[in-house]
């Protein structure tokens, strides 16, 4: 049977076999005892979590809650009332939000217990969790390598079973890429599927909350809780919320799976390619019909993404000016105070603000920002055409296994290319999931399944079928224990 730690834990608490408070305490102790080298956690919400768990144990009517007593870690760019929320930045290193993000409210209403805030690249800008003011996170399978990013801390927390579920956020692959590199399941839903109220904004036409779990069914259960409209986020969509958990029990007989082989030509590691082809064979043997598809503009996705993300970041981050929240560095004038305060941004954030300012400035706007919006429309159209012929599209999640820490820090373009297979889904606003599909030289890699807008049930169905069929052919048992020092 596929492991489903979150749902098993929930069932055990609902049956009365375990108390939510005991589960919470056990989780907090394991977080405290976790090797510092992983650096997955920025803040532990001990008191809030214990109070919350005790309140669940005291409630008579809690047994039906879908995530009853399930400990959840939350990326530190998602606001938690009374719990420091840093977004991995020195500018917010002592910021305590006066409100909970919509996703935190929804998790807690479903019985989940937020236990910790996880490490991430500053304002979610990065693909390695090295651009964090709280230090780099490390891959638990090889401490000299990245856990991926920007939601690296959440991926590590689930991979090492500190928690069964975690929230991340996605702008260009920040859930799927670390999920693949750490060996867990990571989902980016459709743009608008989940409210972003309380998610610290990075690039607003791309940002979306996502979830990590050890199994597809755990992630499906989490999505069921998070999905749905919210009047506080005008981009959240009223589209019906499907029964995602039920979708994970269906088979894939006749499901049409498109493979865009033309985009997998350059820069893809041989081991990743072999793992991917083996995964496609598993889907085929499960009854799926494999077809070639073309995504002719995907080769421009990384560059298109870079222009749009920088433009939107430079605009969004203007709010960090030392006036309403976070750190202020004094100056004699308002302008001086702004510039000195914003000097505390890390290098990657500054780089993106600078480039965003450039591509939006008079004289360059048409050549960069307007052009990128046009190419984005073509990328979106490619997917719309492909989904007339297939139900899901399969690719590797990343072109390589986890790269060495520091290897790409001095070369931003190489860092951006880590997201070459993931950014397209954000540009097109469509859902995609990464599910572990094997090991390359001792490092996990992922299979990415992408679906049409609001097609989460279909990609969860395909991912779960793959997970069932591939079980036992690889997994943590192929590997020695996590590296801890």
């Amino acid at each position: 049977m596929t492991t489903r730690p979150a749902l098993e834990l929930r069932d055990a608490i609902a049956r009365g076999d375990r108390a939510a408070a005991a589960v919470c305490l056990d989780t907090l102790d394991r977080i405290d005892a976790a090797p510092q080298a992983w650096n997955a956690i920025i803040t532990v919400a001990r008191e809030r979590a214990l109070a919350r768990a005790a309140a669940l144990d005291a409630r008579e009517d809690a047994r039906s809650l879908p995530l009853l007593g399930v400990p959840v870690a939350v990326k530190d760019n998602i606001c938690t009332r009374g719990i420091r929320t840093t977004a991995g930045s020195r500018l917010l290193d002592s910021y305590v939000p006066p409100y909970d993000a919509a996703v935190v409210e929804r998790l807690e209403a479903a019985g989940a217990v937020v236990v910790a805030k996880t490490n991430c690249d500053e304002f979610a800008m990065g693909s390695s969790t090295e651009h964090s003011a709280f230090g780099a996170a490390r891959n638990p399978w090889d401490l000299e390598r990245t856990a991926g990013g920007s939601s690296g801390g959440s991926a590590i927390a689930v991979a090492t079973r500190l928690v069964p579920l975690a929230l991340g956020s996605e702008t260009g692959g920040s859930v799927r890429q670390p999920a693949a590199l750490c060996g867990v399941v990571g989902l980016k839903p459709t743009y608008g599927r989940i409210s972003r109220y309380g998610l610290i904004a990075f690039a607003s036409s791309l940002d979306q909350v996502g979830a990590f779990g050890a199994s597809v069914s755990d992630v499906a259960a989490c999505l069921s809780v998070l999905a749905g409209p919210d009047p506080r986020d005008a981009t959240s969509a009223p589209a019906p919320v499907d029964d995602y958990l039920a979708a994970t029990t269906q088979d894939v007989g006749g499901l049409r799976v498109g493979v865009p082989r033309a985009i997998m030509v350059d820069g893809v590691d041989d081991g990743v390619r072999r793992a991917f082809e083996a995964a496609v064979d598993v889907l085929r043997s499960a009854g799926a019909v494999i077809e070639d598809v073309e995504l002719p503009h995907s080769r421009y996705a990384t560059a298109t993404y870079a222009v749009i993300v920088m433009a939107e970041a430079s605009s969004n981050l203007s709010r960090f000016d030392g006036v309403r929240y976070g750190t202020r560095v004094e100056g004699d004038t308002l302008a001086e105070m702004y510039a000195r305060t914003r000097a505390r941004f890390g290098q990657e954030v500054k780089r993106r603000i600078m480039l965003g300012t450039y591509v939006l400035s008079a004289g360059y706007y048409d050549a960069y920002y307007r052009k990128a919006q046009q190419v984005r429309a073509l990328i979106r159209r490619d997917f719309a055409r492909a989904f007339e012929r297939v139900d899901v599209i399969a690719t590797p999640t990343t072109p390589t296994p986890a790269f060495r820490l520091g290897a790409r820090l001095q070369d931003p373009v190489q860092m951006y290319l880590a997201d070459v297979f993931t950014v397209s889904a954000n540009l097109a606003g469509i859902p995609a999931i990464s599910v572990p599909c094997g090991w390359v030289e001792g490092l996990p890699v992922g299979l990415q399944l992408t679906g049409p807008a609001f097609g989460e049930a279909t990609i969860l169905r395909a991912a779960a079928a793959y997970e069932r069929k591939s079980e036992g052919t690889f997994g943590p048992s192929d590997h020695s224990d996590f590296r801890t020092r």
């Binding site: 100056g331 105070m337 480039l355 300012t357």
Partner: protein
């Protein structure tokens, strides 16, 4: 299109209200040029027949009634700011106008 000069970088930093160190100015002069060279590949894409929609494919957003609704507690919001005058309910900033 030429690469960026040090003066370009200093000008951008002042537009973005960012104080940069000398090292950052030097680093960005090189790196921003490299990144712009990389993203310039999109300029080869044929888009002349395309009608530009700024957020292509986005759904029409719902509108809410223009009515006063509960919001965050003012004193809690002010408490999270670097400097505020809680009694008058205002954020405080350095002098903006001289005289």
């Amino acid at each position: 299109m030429s690469t960026l000069t040090r003066r370009d970088v200093e000008h951008l930093a002042s537009l973005a209200r960012l104080e940069l160190t000398d090292h950052e100015t030097e680093l960005f002069t090189r790196q921003l040029g490299d990144i712009l060279a990389f993203v310039r590949e999109i300029q080869a894409v044929e888009t002349s027949t395309l009608e530009l929609t700024l957020d292509a494919g986005a759904r029409a957003l719902g509108l809410r009634d223009d009515a006063v609704q509960p919001s965050l507690d003012r004193s809690e919001v002010l408490a999270a700011s670097p400097e505020a005058d809680t009694a008058s309910g205002l954020f405080k900033v350095p002098r903006v106008l001289n005289g």
